[in-house]
C-alpha cells in the first residue's frame, strides 16, 4: 500500500471514530438542507429544473463546510497535541503527508455530503411534489464536481491550519464561517432560480474547483516543517 493510502486510510478511520465531529457533521447535513429546502421550494415554484439547480448549488457550500469540520481533527488537533511533529520525522514528504490527510478528510466529508443531498432531495420533493429525476448533470455534479471542491477546501484549510499558529487558526475559524455565508450568497447569485443546471455551469464549477485544488497544493508546497514546528503550542 502506498504511503498516501496509508495516511488517507488512517484519517478516514479516525474521522469515523470521532463521535463529536460525526454528530456535528450529521446535524449540519440534516439541518442545513431542510432549512434550505424551504427557500428552494418557494423560489423554484414547482419548476423541476430550478429545484435541481437549487440542490446542486446548496451542496457545494455544504460540502466545503463538512470538509472544514473533518479538517479540524486531521490537521489542527494533531498540531495542537504535537502528534504532527512525530509524523514529520517519518520518511514521508510533507507534501505527501498533506495529500494523504486531505484525501482522508475528503472521504467522510463526501459521504456526509451524499447524506445531505439525499435529505435535500427528499425534503424538497416532499415540499414541492416535484419528482427529481436522476439527471446526468446532477449525478456528474455529485460524482465529480463536489469531491473536487471538498478536496480543494480540505487541502486549503489543512495547509492553513498547519502553517498558522493557534490564535491565527481561531481567527481562520471565524473567517471561514463568514466565508461560508458569503459562498452561499455568491452561489445564489451565480445560479439564479429558474436557470437550471447546465453543462456550462458544471464546467465552470469543475474548473474553479480544480484551480482551488491546484492553489491548495501550491500553498501546501510552501509550508515548511520549521513553520509547522514553530507554531505548535
Amino acid at each position: 500500500m502506498s504511503t498516501l493510502a496509508v495516511i488517507a486510510r488512517r484519517e478516514i478511520r479516525l474521522a469515523l471514530r470521532n463521535r463529536s465531529a460525526l454528530i456535528t457533521a450529521f446535524i449540519f447535513s440534516i439541518w442545513f438542507p431542510v432549512m434550505s429546502a424551504l427557500s428552494i421550494a418557494v423560489g423554484a415554484d414547482g419548476d423541476a429544473a430550478a429545484v435541481t439547480a437549487g440542490i446542486a448549488t446548496i451542496t457545494l457550500p455544504v460540502a466545503v463546510f463538512l470538509g472544514y469540520i473533518f479538517c479540524a481533527d486531521a490537521f489542527l488537533r494533531e498540531k495542537r497535541d504535537g502528534t504532527i511533529e512525530t509524523l514529520l520525522c517519518a520518511p514521508v514528504s510533507l507534501q505527501r503527508l498533506w495529500e494523504g490527510k486531505a484525501a482522508g478528510v475528503t472521504v467522510p466529508a463526501y459521504l456526509m455530503m451524499l447524506l445531505s443531498a439525499a435529505v435535500s432531495i427528499a425534503a424538497i420533493s416532499g415540499l414541492t411534489g416535484v419528482s427529481i429525476a436522476a439527471e446526468p448533470l446532477l449525478l456528474l455534479h455529485f460524482a465529480a464536481v463536489v469531491p473536487v471542491w471538498i478536496a480543494a477546501s480540505a487541502g486549503l484549510i489543512g495547509a492553513a491550519q498547519l502553517a498558522l499558529g493557534m490564535r491565527e487558526n481561531q481567527i481562520l475559524g471565524f473567517v471561514f464561517i463568514f466565508g461560508f455565508i458569503f459562498l452561499i450568497v455568491l452561489f445564489q447569485q451565480i445560479v439564479p432560480a429558474g436557470s437550471g443546471i447546465s453543462a456550462a455551469t458544471e464546467a465552470v464549477l469543475a474548473v474553479v474547483g480544480l484551480a482551488l485544488l491546484a492553489l491548495a497544493r501550491f500553498i501546501a508546497g510552501k509550508v515548511t516543517k520549521e513553520r509547522i514546528v514553530r507554531t505548535i503550542p
Binding site: 496509508v6 478511520r13 502528534t83 509524523l87 520525522c89 520518511p91
Partner: protein, 360 residues
Amino acid sequence: MEKSLFFTSREEIYPYVSHRSCGKYSPHNPRYLPHSLSILHRAVPEEEAGVNAVEVRGLSRSFDGREILRDVSFAVGHGEIFGYLGPNGAGKTTTIRILLGLLAPGAGEVRVLGRDLTADDDARARVGVLFENNGLADRMSAADNLAYYAGLYGVEEPAARIDDLLALVDLADRQDDPVGTFSTGMKRKLGIARAILHRPEVVFLDEPSSGLDPGAQRMVRDLIIELSRREEMTVFLNSHHLDEVQRVCSTVAILAGGRIRAFDSVTNLTAASGRPAVTVALADPGERARACETVEGLPFVTGCEPDGDALHCTLADPGATPDLVATLVGANFRIEEVRRSSRSLEEIYLEHVGRVEDGA
C-alpha cells in the same frame, strides 16, 4: 571509505574522552555487560565506517533574537546511549529538532548517520524519535497505531513485529484497546515501541520519563536499556532526570546557557573530582572525630571530615589509600569498608549549571 564529515574521530576534538564504552549496557549495572562486542554491535555499512551516528559541529540557533544554542559541538558513536542534559529551556529539544531536520541550524552543521535528515527520506527511515507527545492517536487501538507507523516506514512483516513489541512492552493484552484509555506510563511504553518499530539505527528520546511516577520511570529506564541491548541501536536520550541518565547512559553532554559545558563518559565525569578521595566506614561511627584527628596531620592527607557514619578523606596522591588505611589500623581503628569516592552526576550537573546561572 567515507570518513566523518566533521571529525576523523571524537578524540580529535575531545581528546579527554578516553572511555569509549559500547553503550549497550549500563556501565553501573553488570547485568547488561555484553558477552561479545561483535554480537552487540549492529553492523555499520561499509560506506559509513568512520562516520559517527550523530555529529554536531559549531551549531548555533536563535529565536526572535534570543540565542538558544551557541557553537555547540559533540559527537555520538554508534551503539552508545548518550545523555543530553540541561535545564528546562536550555535548548535540548531544539538540538533534537535540528538533528531531525525539523528546524534549520542558524550556523554550523549537523549529521545523523552521516546524512542531513531535512529532505532525506531514506535516512529518516533509519532514525526513530519519541517526543514528549508519544505520536499516538487516542482513538485508535495500540495495534492500529503501530500498524500505521509500520505502513509509513515500510516495516516488513509488520504483524509479527507489532506482536513482538507489544509483548516486550507488556501491552499485548491491551493491543485492541483505544490508546485514549491507557495510563500515561502505558502510553509512554507504547510510544517507545512505536519509536523503535522500524528497527532504527539511531533513536532520539526526548524526556521519556517526563510526567511519570517513580515506578513508571524505572520501567522506562529498564525498557531503554533492554531495547538498546536487544535492538542494538544508538540512543540519544534527552533528559533532566539525572539519576536516569547516570544509570542508563555511557556518555553525557551537559548543555547550559546555550553551550556544551561538559562532554565525557559518565565514568570519567564522576571520577574526575579534582582530588582523589576515599570514604572510610568505621565499625564504631562514634570514633569518627578521633579518627579524623589521627589522619589530618599526615602529609598525604589534605583533608578529613565526617560524612554520615563514615570519614571522607581527600588525598594528595591517589596511591596513598593503603597508607591511610595502615595508619588507621595502626591506631587501632576497626575498619568496615573503604571505597574510592566519586561525585554523582547530579553534583557535576549542578556545578556546571550553577556556574552558568552565576554568570561565570
